[in-house]
Symmetry: C3
Subunit: 155 residues, 3 copies
């Protein structure tokens, strides 16, 4: 894989993580193509071929709607999240597209200061290259099936 | 350190992590040279100069044996692991060999969905370069001495 | 951002992390310029504009003093730390300076082997480039406000 492409894609993952950690949810749809797809699933459902998704969108417009709902539903205590991304593995699809697999952890920091491991899993992405690459598809596979009972926030 | 070498080595660590996380244990020996050495130890034993290893192999054949034992002994509940690798520091040994030091975390996800910090520590590696680099030696130093009482799975 | 610069800066973060994890505190001031500034704060205080810092220094000399104090005050049980750094985002300031934002986790391993999430947060850095880049300023923003009641060790 080309060195420049590797760093461009890692930079996309990085900017995405910082946007979510800084609660800049309104920037989130901008990391996707206009008809970009997004899905959070659990490893268990994924392996069983169950189509259940914790969170689902198939366009930027749907992602924007999701952000609006989250802003309105946000009656819970404010929380902080911290994303750790690792092990970004790229595979070329075409001259302008790559597939990316990466591991992630998300830490949640509660109002009282307690920090806990909120989620771990894999990002499975299809990315369109360019000066600023974009996600055509981002599938978030959470390791734990406990996840699906929690509030569906973007990961 | 050469940019291309840095990325090639990080890619080796990444592919290794994904193989273990996806339970592709049979691929594990293939990341080592034919006479590659592998050892898991605890920081405490390492500092005391004690030769005790939690898991030990000095060839691909021994690694394959280890995989077979694990497959047969696997009477415990299925578990998921997630590797996070960070801070990969390279040092040149020769034109075809580098030394790599890296930090790692491994999360274990239990059957009931609980996720816990399973292990943290350092990978100390001697790597042969090439289109697909290989480990000549991978020493896994676990931070916690609690580790040595657990089931010896590859890290 | 230039590929070589990205890797040089990541290497700085990496060497810094390994120095702290290996308890080489005496090497710590050497990662800063002579008048380098260092500060640990909590996200809460930072957002409120409170100038309170958990740990503060504005020169290499002050950092050295801090190390000496820590060595003398170290009456607690020995502990191990493990740094995980991720999502390094660079922004050019000038031909010789960059701004870096990165996420971190620090794991603490207690004497009895228990491992816990000690701190998470962001590194906000101003870095002078060169064959070995140096921190002109490193601000460590901890996510949890619980942090400020703990012993102030370098992060």
């Amino acid at each position: 894989m080309d060195v420049a492409v590797q760093l461009l894609v890692e930079r996309l993952h990085t900017r995405y993580a910082h946007a979510l950690d800084a609660d800049r949810l309104e920037d989130w749809p901008g990391f996707f193509t206009e008809d970009g797809r997004y899905r959070i699933a659990t490893a268990e459902n994924e392996e069983r071929g169950l189509p259940l998704a914790v969170l689902y969108a198939e366009s930027r417009a749907m992602l924007r709607d999701r952000v609006q709902s989250l802003r309105h539903a946000n009656i819970y205590e404010p929380q902080r999240y911290r994303h750790i991304i690792s092990a970004v593995l790229l595979e070329k699809i075409s001259d302008t597209q790559v597939r990316s697999t990466a591991n992630f952890l998300v830490i949640r920091i509660m109002q009282d200061g307690a920090a806990l491991l909120f989620a771990s899993g894999r990002y499975l992405d299809r990315i369109v290259l360019g000066p600023e690459p974009l996600y055509e598809e981002r599938v978030v596979i959470c390791d734990s099936r406990r996840f699906d009972t929690l509030l569906a926030i973007p990961l």
